[in-house]
């Protein structure tokens, strides 16, 4: 049998392979290098210019007391215990409490790192209307630029525009990975003692999302393929009032951000009715994200949607003069803050100008993956040497995330960068099984070598139809069952995928698309089967056939495992520490009330 090296174009060796270069990945590499191991980062894009981090709002969490220690105004009423409790209520008790403890404990450390590395902050405030201010607001660009600068100053090795396709396991331990270098079209074998996955979400599996093109669930799917369980995959967070139309602005959440800054926006259906009055007469548009999402979806389902299937975001009633004042106010504010982001500086004023005459079509975009790779509070997976940090991991947020994702990735990146070197120093490089490499290389090359079959674009449309219509904001048993059956059919098409443009292996997006498709399908299938067993509504998860939040039967985490190519779904108990789990049943609205008890919510009718 040939050696493993003979199946690939290139071989690289490292102590620690970090898959992903942004909020989580860069932090892992920096921390691990500080602890004396040599990391290698492989990223699908370029550092500081890929994934979700660059687009983040971006808010960072620290409790009010630690905020004071970091030099911000802070809040004496706060404590780490209160912060812990708020997060678990917001997650409707599905959170791994050990993970939440670590989040609260490490949040100040990870935030201090970023400040030390030069990330500038706009202001300290309550970002998501929490009663206690816990948010440092910066921008995704400032964040990733600070990380990149630190990373570059340490001269850490990185391979860019390269996708890690599969992980290698020998004797039950991580041995390395196989990757495809987009620019050269070469297949790389990476020998590593440990791997940290920091690959982000799988938003591209949904037709309408607020994410970047590279977020295709690669980490989750790679982990699943080697038998690592996924947790809470039914929990997909949608963000309401995201621009649906026109195409140029599609997926921008600037309209949602705007509703947090200015509360005068009205949502209208195609009949011009302010429909929120029927769903939350008191709070109207200022109701919670979940309620606004569900209400907009119900309007569309009832045939009262916009031409492209959303609702209208309207400010026309304020009059041209007031909108002109608003526009100039925003232009002035962005100038004074030194704001350079396109969405704030250019897009928002343009939209307000546009809204003098027309309304904007908005809808619920797939925004954040609450579930993911099952890890413990130390970011360890079930396979020794494999860690996951950031959005690709699951368990921290339970049923919903309100607190800062930016802090999650920093905290988990810091922990993975601290823990993995301890493991690396104890072990030797595992021997790589040549047969495993051969199989992966064959899988990678399959679509390129096939002369005919199905084009990946065709399959993309098919799975988007499934996820958009059946695994969205409102689900039900019938739709979930259809999704499972249709996804099974889609999985059968994967071995038929072929690349029609065979001019070159270099930068072959069709080829890359085939590999990403398999990952998105794995994630969506996990989402579908996890949705099928959670027969209740909770947090980000809403089923029209089981609307109650049922603490008696469903205070447990869904777990999806792949065994010999077959998916299995089950439940595991929640990891708790100090906060007892509630009993009984609640209406979905009551549960939303529990989840938002820590937020300040004014009556929308006041002063309007």
């Amino acid at each position: 049998m040939p050696r493993a090296e003979e199946y690939v174009d290139r071989v690289v060796e490292t102590d620690l392979l970090v898959v992903g270069s942004e909020g989580a990945g860069a932090q892992v590499a920096i921390e691990a290098a500080n602890r004396g191991v040599r990391p290698l980062v492989i990223t699908k894009g370029a550092i500081g210019r890929t994934g979700a981090s660059q687009c983040a709002g971006a808010d960072f969490n620290v409790d009010g007391i630690s905020a004071k220690e970091l030099g911000f105004s802070g809040d004496d009423r706060d404590s780490q215990e209160r912060f812990f409790s708020d997060i678990i209520h917001e997650g409707l008790f599905l959170n791994n409490q050990k993970m939440v403890e670590k989040y609260v404990e490490y949040a100040p450390k990870s935030t201090k790192n970023l400040l030390d590395w030069g990330m500038r902050v706009y202001y300290y405030a309550s970002v998501h209307s929490e009663e206690i201010a816990r948010g440092l607001t910066s921008s995704g660009k400032r964040w990733v630029n600070a990380l990149r600068k630190k990373f570059k100053s340490m001269k850490l090795p990185i391979i860019e525009d390269t996708m890690v396709v599969d992980l290698l396991v020998s004797s039950g331990r991580i041995a390395g990975a196989v990757a495809l270098d987009f620019r050269s079209g070469e297949i790389i074998l990476i020998k590593a003692k440990a791997v940290v996955l920091a690959t982000g979400g799988f938003q591209m599996a949904y037709p309408f999302n607020s994410a970047t093109y590279d977020l295709t669930g690669d980490g989750q799917a790679m982990a699943a393929r080697i038998g690592v369980p996924l947790i809470g995959m039914e929990m997909v967070q949608f963000i309401p009032t995201t621009i649906l139309w026109p195409p140029m602005e599609r997926g921008s959440i600037i309209t949602y951000i705007f509703t947090e800054l200015d509360t005068r926006v009205r949502l209208l259906n195609s009949l011009g009715q302010r429909f929120m009055s029927r769903y939350d007469p008191k709070m109207l548009e200022k109701s919670t994200k979940e309620i606004v999402s569900i209400a907009s979806e119900l309007e569309v389902m009832a045939g009262r949607g916009t031409p492209h299937g959303g609702v209208y975001f309207s400010m026309k009633y304020l009059g041209e003069e007031e909108l002109e004042r608003m526009k100039n106010g925003i232009i002035g504010l962005t100038k004074s803050l030194g704001e350079t982001r396109y969405e704030f500086k250019t897009l928002l004023p343009r939209l307000i100008e546009f809204m003098k005459k027309e309304d904007i079509e908005v809808s619920n975009a797939c925004h954040f993956m609450v579930g993911g790779i099952k890890v413990n509070e130390l970011t360890e997976t079930e396979i020794p040497g494999l860690y996951a940090a950031g959005e690709c991991s699951g368990g921290l947020w339970g049923a919903n995330r309100v607190a800062a994702a930016c802090t999650q990735v920093g905290v988990q990146g810091l922990i993975a960068g601290k823990i993995s070197p301890e493991f690396i120093k104890r072990v030797d490089q595992e021997e790589i099984t040549p047969g495993d490499v051969k199989k992966i290389v064959e899988r990678i090359e399959g679509p390129f070598k096939r002369e005919k079959g199905m084009k990946v674009e065709e399959l993309r449309r098919y799975i988007h139809d499934i996820s958009g219509k059946r695994l969205g904001v409102i689900r039900d048993g019938k739709g979930i069952k259809e999704a499972i059956d249709m996804l099974k059919e889609a999985v059968e098409e994967v071995p038929k995928l072929y690349v029609s443009d065979k001019r070159s292996r270099k930068l072959n997006r069709e080829w890359i698309g085939c590999l990403e498709m398999e990952n998105m399908l794995t994630c969506l299938y996990a989402t579908a089967i996890a949705s099928s067993v959670r027969k209740e509504g909770r947090g980000a998860f809403y089923r029209s056939d089981f609307v109650l939040t049922n603490h008696d039967n469903f205070l447990k985490n869904t777990i999806v495992r792949v065994k010999q190519g077959k998916f299995e779904v089950g439940f595991e108990p929640i990891v708790t520490t100090t906060l007892p789990l509630p009993k009984g049943k609640m209406t979905f609205e009551e549960a939303v009330g529990v989840a938002t008890a820590s937020l300040v919510r004014e009556d929308a009718n006041k002063g309007v």
Binding site: G45, R49, T50, Q54, R183, S252, Y342, S500, S504, R509
Partner: protein, 104 residues
């Protein structure tokens, strides 16, 4: 309302298989306000899956979709298309394939 059609003249070049660069013109519908990237996406998704260009954030963050459109250097995602356009790579001498260059 009649859908407006526009012509997108696109630079194509694969150094491994082509002797020299050439242009292909695609006719596409202009549906609503569209960016240059929206046009390229339409072509890739409906007409020519091999068309190679960079796309990632779509909102001016990553700044990797730099292109030359009608002689001007722009970002594909934030440049609005109003009529026929001619799309070239940002640096012709740096092309790896079609509109995607080295070091962008």
């Amino acid at each position: 309302m009649e859908e407006k059609k526009i012509k997108v003249e696109c630079f194509r070049y694969c150094p491994e298989t082509d002797d020299a660069p050439y242009y292909v013109t695609y006719e596409i519908p202009l549906a609503g306000r569209m960016s240059v990237l929206d046009c390229l996406n339409y072509i890739r998704e409906n007409l020519d899956p091999g068309l190679t260009y960079f796309i990632n954030c779509r909102k001016g963050f990553c700044a990797r979709c730099a292109l030359e459109v009608d002689g001007k250097k722009v970002l594909g995602c934030t440049c609005e298309v109003k009529g026929d356009i001619k799309v070239k790579p940002i640096r012709e001498d740096k092309v790896i394939k079609d509109l995607w260059c080295k070091n962008i």
